[in-house]
Subunit: 355 residues, 2 copies
């Protein structure tokens, strides 16, 4: 084994790559992992031992607080390869800022920006061949932090592990998405942790999402927990509504994740002189707009799915059809975003970050 | 799920007990663990390989869903030893029913009752010496289930691990408890997972509880997320209020844990002809009752803390003092409960369960 040391990160390379065992044309999202992973521990008030080592299992106490109290946060990013083999991230500073915002809400210590970026550089550099070119192909990057202190009392951990895993992926969704508007269950509370990428927010959605799936819908659009009157976001996407030519999306709040794709779509719309309104959106408005033919599009926006057009939405057991998406905003924004991500177009906002 | 015979649990005993390394008079809650633990895996739709083995670390993928999506639930129980060395649990059927209720909400498969009980019997039998007699001493029992499938896509795991850990404890709180009534943060949403002992519910409380601690309060009493007008429960306790001679506690809902201590206190109160009302309680009522001298007691009720009298509560930066607790309901219920738990009194409700 090769051990090299940089300024900070110690690197232990794999002996033999697993890359030939992976069928890159038929990937299941988040199932395969690259050769290496990054790991860094928080002990005695300090982040120590930043290490890259072969992807593999952890040895961890069954009393680690993450198992009992869900004290854990994560991020989702992607690396994209252009036609010349250059690799880019998309607005990674935003992911770093957000994991620390999430961490704060979950009483987890912040992770230093310099190690975050150095880890991304070194790790992606080692596993560069795992980033495949071609639209839809990318290397999904999963930074996360979890509470590792051994102890079953409900109080913040004094030890944490920060890690980065890399998983090669193809496009997330195939085809249009059917959604149901939440009427009974909810995703987050005022004053809760909905704005954080806290682990428990996701597990909490599995049961109501299963109920939706049994009825033939892939996703739930969550509404406010209080009255179920306002549309908020989907499980892993923010949601946009187009009525006539105006784009609407819910404002961010302590219940809604401040999505990077969401803010990028808003920026692109403004640049393109498309009117955008960030304001609370009544379910009844959307139903009404669907009935009178002014509702042109609904689409989700998120790192995993990029832009995901909704074909039908269901509310109070009535299904509303959306017009065909060809030529709409969703197609346009998807192209504009991915052209920037894959280094096909100019990058007027400086969103690309080469690694 | 056909586990009916006791031969199904395989047992691997420790070579040398660690019991002499533990100072049983000075325990930190949830820090020390007994010699053995129980483990059972859910694979291909079945709970398999129920095993008791020496307490020790797990080997687990860093991509296990529990780390990323907080898909995990737990229980908290205690074993009590009487003066003759007999060991008892308190209403363990309730914990089994509740872990399955929590599991359902978190899209986790239910755990069979027969293995749950058989595991408790065998495990406690092996580690019987870890249950120390004497009021306040007990062996805290932590059953939990976590998602173990390797994969970073936000969907339910297809593999789980159910475990039971044992941790010797002394009394949980020392002295009276100062609490603050939540005005900004909240614990759970209508239609959320507050009624489940879902891991993420606890981590989500750490930050606001830290803020309360910095101001000198040990606990937060959560209010409804919508208006912060109604008193709900504390972090790991349900809460009772005594105005004149009547006891009030919030009704259970999808936001509030259906506590076993809570329902036991209600049953004891009814037996003792103490009026009890389960109904929404306004913060303003309690403030008013404190001002006019009719608020006699506030106490928390939960397995870890048993009955925990509140000495002061803070609301909108005003601190309200409670009268001294001696001779009150909290003292009475604590004695009645622990007398049943430690086999000192009769057990009119059949709550004791010998192991
Ligand atoms: C709850 C939630 N909303 C929205 C998003 C979209 O955010 P982003 O565009 O930063 O990926 C995600 C995924 O990250 C999410 O988990
Ligand atoms: C949120 C919450 N409320 C109340 C309780 C008290 O429940 P029990 O009396 O069953 O221990 C607990 C602890 O289990 C809890 O976690």
């Amino acid at each position: 084994m090769n051990f090299t040391t940089s300024d900070k990160i110690s690197v232990q390379k794999i002996e033999k790559s697993r890359i030939n065992e992976v069928d890159f044309d038929n990937l299941t999202f988040g199932k395969d992992f690259s050769d290496h992973m990054f790991e860094c521990d928080y002990i005695n008030g300090e982040w120590v031992h930043p290490t890259i080592r072969p992807y593999g299992p952890l040895t961890i106490s069954p009393a680690a607080k993450v198992f009992h109290y869900g004290q854990a946060v994560f991020e989702g990013m992607k690396a994209y390869k252009d036609a010349n083999g250059k690799v880019f991230l998309f607005r990674p500073d935003q992911n770093h800022a957000r994991i620390n915002k999430s961490a704060k809400r979950m009483a987890i210590p912040e992770f230093p920006k310099d190690i975050f970026f150095e880890a991304l550089h070194k790790l992606i550099d080692l596993d560069r061949d795992w980033v495949k070119p071609g639209n839809g192909n990318s290397l999904y990057i999963r930074p996360f932090v979890m509470a590792t202190q051994e102890g079953v009392s409900a109080s913040p951990s004094d030890q944490y592990k920060f890690m980065i895993l890399l998983s090669p992926v193809n496009a997330y969704y195939t085809g249009d998405v059917k959604v149901v508007v939440a009427e009974e269950y909810s995703r987050s509370a005022n004053g809760g942790v909905g704005a954080a990428k806290a682990a428990g927010n996701y597990g909490a959605q599995f049961y109501p999402t299963n109920l939706a799936r049994e009825k033939g819908f892939q996703q739930v659009i969550w509404t406010d927990a209080n009255e179920h009157k306002y549309l908020e976001e989907a499980g892993t996407m923010n949601v946009f509504f187009r009525i006539n030519d105006t784009l609407y999306t819910a404002p961010t709040s302590d219940r809604i994740l401040d999505g990077i794709t969401r803010k990028s779509v808003i920026a692109l719309a403004k640049k393109d002189n498309i009117p955008v309104e960030e304001r609370p959106i009544l379910v009844s408005e959307i139903v009404e707009a669907s009935k009178n033919g002014t509702l042109k599009e609904i689409f989700g926006a998120g790192t995993a799915a990029v832009i995901s057009p909704v074909s039908t939405f269901n509310y109070k057991d009535v299904t509303y059809e959306l017009p065909p998406t060809a030529g709409g905003y969703s197609t346009k924004f998807k192209k504009e975003l991915t052209d920037i991500q894959y280094n096909i177009s100019e990058d007027p906002f400086g969103w690309r970050y080469e690694v």
